[in-house]
């Protein structure tokens, strides 16, 4: 209750600040936008923009809000989040509402140009028009920044936006998400947050060779920017099937729970997005994720006598056990739990290899400010040793997953160097 009161006070304070920003921006606004500038509409837009984590791509660390500039490494090359401040030249201030909604719903830029699907319009197409317009209204209150950002830094052949006509034909269906009347309002809200606003599948659903979501792999994990976004379906071993609704809520609100501590892109998402969402919305996401189909999910652990397991155990005792403990139990919110962890048992060990080679910075949130970090072990463990210790943790403490090879480690080490 007290928290609710405090957040209301914060919202009011923010509202006042927005009012001042609005006055400054008024001269650049088309006249028809003014009616949409009610406090409720702006606050809703701000919340939706937070939930969709627009800043994640459209704000440089330390840069002006929404002025663009974050480079996204895609399998096809680099794309840079554009300037979406209300500046009429560099930003989207001159866009009409229809043009803004078309960008979100159909991946069309101004005058019909195609957007690259790093902008998650395949998810945003499911967003309601009202929500899109609320985000639009909020973005119009941001300080305009007159800095041009070149979004497209792809290699020459891939950068023909003309290609996207065909990509869209093959991979993209425009259309809003229809509520499922057979399910609860909470479930429907959760699905809307996961599939539309939160665009979880952008990372957590693996992509075809053309970079499109594979429907058959819905939320079963994907590799992006050198991280594995793990399976978040209700699968018991590789997904979050063992997590309760409360566990999922705790993770999204605070950055960690008894099973996991967020790092990498998910740490950013939690810091900027889900930790600021309402308790009801986060719970809706949890309820929906718990309802997702759990693919068959059993595996047999490697025998402790396997040479990699023998070596891995010794390496684990020397390097890992002081924090993660002999039993792989870790310490909640401080040292990741390895036993029963879905991320540890993911088919693809990319994130695990990366954590051992480069270290890992856990997220810090208001509720859990510690932000614990794991140091790099790249300098003291060879490729074969990293592979052995990861194979060990993936097949101990009740875990089971395919072995990691020195070759896999070597490739990621080369990339990290």
């Amino acid at each position: 209750m007290r928290r609710a009161a405090r957040s209301l006070a914060c919202s009011l304070a923010r509202g006042l600040a927005l009012g001042a920003g609005l006055a400054a921006a008024l001269s650049t606004l088309p006249a028809r936008a003014i009616d949409e500038q009610s406090f409720d509409q702006l606050e809703r837009g701000r919340y939706l923009a937070t939930t969709a984590d627009c800043k994640g791509c459209h704000t440089r660390p330390g840069g002006k809000p929404f002025a663009g500039g974050v480079a996204l490494a895609t399998p096809f090359g680099t794309l840079v989040g554009s300037n979406i401040t209300p500046d009429r030249e560099a930003g989207i201030g001159a866009w009409s509402d229809e043009e803004f909604v078309a960008a979100l719903h159909d991946g069309r830029g101004r005058a019909g140009t195609r957007l690259f699907p790093a902008m998650p319009y395949p998810a945003y197409t499911k967003m309601t028009r009202a929500d899109a317009l609320a985000i639009r209204a909020y973005l119009l209150t941001i300080e305009p920044v007159n800095e041009k950002v070149e979004s497209n830094q792809l290699p020459i052949v891939l950068n023909w936006r003309f290609n996207l006509v065909f990509w869209n034909l093959l991979n993209f269906t425009s259309g809003r998400l229809e509520p499922d009347a057979a399910k609860s309002a909470e479930w429907n809200r959760g699905r809307y947050l996961v599939d539309a606003l939160g665009h979880c599948g952008t990372c957590h659903t693996s992509k075809s060779w053309l970079g499109a979501d594979k429907d058959s792999a819905y939320l079963q994990g994907g590799v992006l920017q050198g991280w594995l976004a793990p399976n978040i379906t209700a699968a018991n071993r590789r997904g979050v099937g063992r997590w309760s609704v409360e566990d999922i809520v705790e993770y999204l609100k605070t950055g960690s729970n008894a099973y996991a501590i967020a790092a990498g892109p998910m740490a950013e998402e939690i810091a900027n997005g889900s930790s600021k969402m309402t308790d009801a919305d986060v719970k809706a996401i949890a309820v929906y994720l718990k309802s997702t189909p759990a693919a068959a999910d059993t595996a047999a652990a490697l025998a402790p006598s396997d040479p990699q397991m023998v070596a891995g155990l010794a390496i684990y005792k020397d390097n890992c056990a002081p924090c993660h403990t002999d039993a792989g139990s870790g310490t909640p919110g401080l040292f990741s739990r390895l036993a029963g962890s879905h991320a540890i048992q993911s088919d693809d060990p990319t994130s695990l290899i990366r954590a051992v080679l480069s270290g890992r910075q856990g997220v810090a949130t208001k509720d859990k400010p510690t932000g614990p970090a794991m140091p790099s072990f790249a300098w003291r463990l060879s490729d074969a040793q990293v592979a052995a210790v990861l194979t060990y943790v993936r097949n101990s403490f009740g875990n089971a997953a395919v072995a990691v090879t020195a070759d896999q480690v070597g490739k990621l080490r080369a990339r990290a160097d």
Binding site: N319, G333, L334, G359, P375, R380
Partner: protein, 588 residues
């Protein structure tokens, strides 16, 4: 010409644990705070990497985390008849450096001083008569009391997750705790650490000779902990790399593991590292500080104006900062007048090493505060009426490590190198341990700190000069406690035990203790103290001086618990009193 920066509400000199406590409390109050630290930024995963932290050569022998004499050193002499010479390699004590300060490299033994320690002169006079206090000593009362300190000790212990067992809860003696401690309102936040063999055996022997042993209160955590700021700490893994090392697994209390995650998120806090404060600036009247001047790592000089200046460096460096800034009147041992530099004190240590044939102690399973202590002969726990000294010492068996370079216990008579030394190491490494007394160090008229007339630092400022020798009183005290310890040693039936008694003159070379106290002492009288009971300068009321520099004399305990409590005490005084009415908090 220094470049002038925009003013802050508070400028803090140094960014160790006291500084972090004050910065966190005052930023909570809404103040704009900057901490200026001459050493580097330090973070657990980056700088205390579990992969290379247990590097004894780098950290314990080459002293990687410590202040370099080239940065700052001091000159030393035993008494005024000698000419002080610069310390070119720190030995007897090791001042820290960098973010987190000495609480990065400490062992973690976290004590409260006894109620009688805070009113030492009054208490001894009341109990034994004024004539009991030897003429050589200049002991004083603190100006505060244990009862006033209790809630600040409590705050510090809960911040750090101290693991221990209360001995006195609201006046009721608790079995298993220290029956001689002052009453505490509640128990420690965590239970004591699990004991290893040597301290367990020591405790049995101590009990057998009539002492009351108890687990040493420890900042190496017995369990995972979430402190009142929401910061999480881990469980100590008994790695045996505490003193001289940073903790790699978040289980030793430090600024890094208790406060910085919260403090560094605050928009109204800023830390400037690798910036060395030159002096505190005063206005024309000399009664008001206007800020500090500092030089950054590229040699550029800056002026940081501030409404309030907190001197929170290592105790010795606090005193030098006052002397360099011309704040307060320097102490003169000839006239015994003046205050700054007065009552420098130390710690009177001595110990016994035991060798066994039939017992294995595995000394590498250890932690900096993992052990047992007995306070039967500490402070004024025992009757001094028929004794020729005042003071006392804690007796502790805290085998902190079994590190391979420096932990080579061999009996006297063993060659210092070669095959026989190697064989003796093999025979004794697992079968030996020591226990020690950490005795009080009572201030004496001849022990003090001032500016050296000859030597300067790399910035051209005079070095500080330390004049110190053990008072005869303290040597008598130490020998008395050692006699008691000998009985404990005999009760353990070792093959052999070796007594290392403390003797004059004090030597600056072998390591003894980094418990340098006094020089900017607190008290009730501006003629005999530098700061009042709130650690506020008597001379310049918008300066507070926080650290062991405030101890009027040192007790038979590690100082960190009391330093932490004083930081909370000063923060409370600033928040609840000074900000409402800036000016002297104690009328003169």
């Amino acid at each position: 010409m220094a470049r002038r920066l925009p003013a802050k509400d508070v400028a803090i000199i140094g960014f160790g644990l006291s500084s972090a406590i004050l910065a966190n409390e005052l930023t909570d109050q809404g103040l704009e705070v900057v901490a200026i630290e001459r050493g580097p930024w330090r973070d657990t995963a980056t700088h205390f990497n579990v992969g290379y932290m247990p590097d004894e050569l780098r950290y314990a022998v080459r002293l990687d985390l410590f202040l370099r004499p080239a940065q700052e050193t001091l000159t030393f002499r035993n008494n005024v008849s000698e000419t002080a010479l610069p310390i070119r390699q720190f030995g007897s004590f090791l001042p820290g450096d960098g973010v987190g300060g000495a609480a990065v490299h400490w062992n973690g033994q976290t004590w409260r001083f006894n109620p009688t320690d805070f009113r030492l002169k009054s208490h001894l006079t009341e109990r034994y008569g004024a004539a009991k206090i030897p003429d050589e000593l200049s002991i004083q009362d603190w100006g505060t009391t244990y009862d006033e300190m209790e809630r600040f000790y409590d705050q510090f212990e809960y911040l750090c997750g101290i693991s221990g067992k209360a001995g006195n809860l609201n006046g009721t003696i608790q079995p298993g705790g220290n029956p001689f401690e002052g009453p505490r309102k509640r128990d420690y936040p965590l239970p004591p650490m699990q004991m290893t063999y040597a301290p367990t055996m020591f405790a049995e022997a101590a009990r057998a000779v009539g002492c009351h042993p108890f687990p040493c209160p420890s900042a190496n955590l017995s369990q995972p902990y979430i402190n009142p700021l929401g910061v999480r700490m881990g469980q100590c893994s008994f790695c045996g790399f505490c003193e001289r090392f940073g903790c790699a697994n978040y289980s030793k209390a430090s600024a890094q593991t208790t406060i910085l995650p919260v403090l560094m998120r605050k928009a109204n806090f800023e830390a400037r590292t690798e910036c060395e404060v030159l002096k505190v600036n005063l206005d024309g009247s000399g009664k008001r500080a206007t800020g500090v001047s500092y030089v950054d790592s590229s040699g550029v000089e800056w002026e940081q104006p501030a409404e309030l200046v907190l001197i929170c460096a290592y105790g010795l460096h606090n005193v030098r900062m006052l002397l360099l800034s011309g704040i307060g009147r320097p102490y003169d041992p000839a006239t015994r007048e003046g205050t700054v530099g007065r009552n420098y004190a130390y710690q009177t240590t001595a110990g016994i090493q035991l060798f066994f044939d039939d017992k294995i102690f595995n000394p590498f399973i250890a932690a900096g505060a993992l052990g047992q202590s007995a306070d039967d002969f500490n402070g004024d726990s025992f009757d001094h009426a028929d004794l020729d000294f005042v003071g006392g010492g804690g007796i502790s068996c805290i085998p902190t490590n079994g590190r391979p370079i420096s932990n080579r216990p061999v009996p006297p008579g063993t060659p210092r190198w070669g095959a026989k030394w190697k064989q003796a190491t093999k025979d004794n490494y697992l079968r030996s341990f020591g226990f020690s007394t950490q005795g009080s160090s009572y201030a004496a008229h001849g022990n003090y700190l001032d500016l050296d007339p000859t030597y300067t630092d790399r910035l051209g400022r005079p070095l500080m000069r330390m004049t110190f020798d053990f008072p005869d009183n303290d040597i008598r005290m130490s020998n008395y406690v050692m006699d008691k310890m000998e009985a404990i040693a005999k009760a353990m039936k070792p093959r052999q035990y070796v007594m290392a008694r403390r003797a004059k003159p004090y030597s600056i070379v072998p390591y003894q203790s980094t418990h340098n106290t006094g020089g900017a002492i607190m008290g009730g009288d501006p003629k005999t103290s530098v700061v009042n009971k709130y650690l506020q300068s008597w001379d310049v009321p918008n300066i507070f001086v926080i650290g062991a520099s405030a101890f009027p004399q040192n007790a038979g305990y590690n100082p960190t618990g009391t330093v932490g409590a004083l930081a909370f005490l000063a923060a409370d005084a600033i928040r609840t009193k000074y900000l409402k009415s800036p000016g002297p908090l104690v009328p003169t």
